[in-house]
């Protein structure tokens, strides 16, 4: 990193750190939101980038150059190269769209309703002996040695991918863009159960028919996730991040019983170690706000997907940082004046006093999600308008 880039990098980090401590930086920081949009915009498909580390670095650099960004969400590359091994071993959980443009998700359930007791008794044995075999056809081979070699490949792939991937390093060193989140993601045991064990519909049905079993299953996984929470002091920045999938479907009472205990423990663990949680409030979270009030001041940066920014600012201006941008619909329409008006209104509400990051609630994924020229002009406008 050159001296000039290092200076840019430090300025950007300072913007994020200052605003997340509810103070006013020099201006509102702007987040990059490149996803598979960046790939399509460069004229490639997700399929073409899979396994091609050089092309990924080239596309990634171009997608972040000249857009007035201050940071990227995490050090995760544009594509998940490990998917190639999953595909090879017969996983059907994720698949490429027929035109190769995007990676998509199959809704699956890997556990039957009558298997709760077995899962609760030993979730790790159940996951290994039943779920893995249901998910990976390679684990169904007759020859046990063949299965073992498939397993070795599966376990070794992430490390090998990490050694070959340099897209983030290129962005970091050549453009001076910091990743605002690092380390391992905070994973809620209920989301894990919902996403990868029972699946969406069965879990929602079970919450009505056998809620005690669901709670026992979540609690069986909780010690493992508690163990993954940090216990030693951490640098304040970058923060950790998470994703929430089931929280938006829960009533206030169910959230309190099934979700809040681990979530609260995770936020407090990070806070006590000196850092914060960049928390993705997928869907509306307004029904859970009373719980959030219990959390320490400056412990959260809240990515608001469907929550009303004005109301959130009223409730939590002295407590949390808002992460929000104009609606994806407005950006997609591409009328620059309309985009600027919406951005102005948002900044006027969210920026005063600090505690605001301009960032898309949803990453750009489809080719038509944003006209690059409109995005560039909008972000340039924000660098001029959102000055303190």
């Amino acid at each position: 990193m050159t001296e000039e880039i290092k200076k840019l990098y430090d300025e950007r980090v300072n913007r994020f750190v200052t605003t997340s401590n509810l103070k006013e930086p020099d201006r509102v920081p702007i987040m990059a939101s490149a996803g598979s949009w960046a790939i399509a915009n460069a004229g490639y498909t997700y399929a073409e980038l899979l396994g091609n580390y050089d092309l990924e670095a080239e596309v990634s650099l171009n997608a972040h150059k000249g857009f007035y960004f201050d940071g990227i969400r995490g050090s995760t590359p544009l594509v998940n190269h490990a998917m190639l091994t999953n595909f090879e071993l017969g996983s059907k959980q994720m698949f490429l769209s027929s035109n190769g443009v995007s990676l998509q998700h199959h809704e699956t359930s890997s556990m039957e309703a009558d298997e709760y007791d077995e899962f609760i008794a030993d979730p790790f044995k159940f996951i290994a002996n039943k779920i893995s075999v249901r998910k990976l056809s390679a684990f169904q081979a007759d020859d046990e040695e063949e299965v073992y070699q498939s397993m070795v490949k599966l376990f070794q792939t992430p490390g090998e991918v990490a050694k070959k991937t340099y897209a983030f390093k290129a962005i970091h060193e050549q453009l001076g863009l910091p990743a605002i989140a690092g380390g391992s993601n905070i994973v809620h045991p209920f989301d894990q159960f919902f996403d990868f064990v029972r699946g969406f519909e069965p879990t929602m049905t079970d919450l009505r028919r056998r809620p005690d079993k669901v709670l026992a299953a979540v609690e069986a996984m909780t010690p493992y996730q508690m163990r993954n929470l940090p216990k030693e002091p951490l640098p304040e920045f970058p923060w950790r991040t998470d994703n929430h999938h089931i929280a938006k479907f829960l009533t206030k009472d169910l959230f309190g019983k099934f979700y809040w205990p681990y979530y609260k423990a995770a936020v407090e663990a990070l806070y006590n170690c000196g850092t914060k949680l960049l928390s993705h409030f997928e869907g509306p979270w307004v029904q859970h706000y009373d719980y959030l009030q219990e959390l320490p001041k400056t412990s959260l940066i809240c990515i608001l997907e469907n929550d009303e920014v004005e109301y959130f600012k009223q409730r939590f201006a002295d407590q949390f940082t808002i992460f929000a941008a104009i609606s994806g619909g407005t950006l997609r329409i591409g009328d620059i004046e309309r985009c600027k008006e919406e951005a102005k209104a948002l900044i006027d509400i969210a920026a005063p006093g600090g505690g605001y990051i301009y960032g898309a609630r949803n990453g750009l994924s489809a080719p038509g999600d944003a006209d690059p020229e409109v995005l560039r002009e909008l972000n340039k406008f924000i660098t001029e308008y959102a000055v303190y």
Binding site: N86, L89, S91, Q93, S110, F124, K125, I127, A128, N129, K130, I131, S132, V133, R134, K135, L136, F139, Q140, E144, V147, Y148, M151, V152, L154, F155, Q192, D195, F196, V197, Y224, R227
Partner: protein, 40 residues
Amino acid sequence: MRERDIYKLVERYVTEFFPDLEGEARQHRIEALCASFMNV
């Protein structure tokens, strides 16, 4: 096929690739590897 003793193979993997791990640390590694099967 609905079931297979993959857990035993995970134990073998940990013995082979992390021979120095013992006790609780070994058990935690086994559990982390088993948990990783969820998201495949």
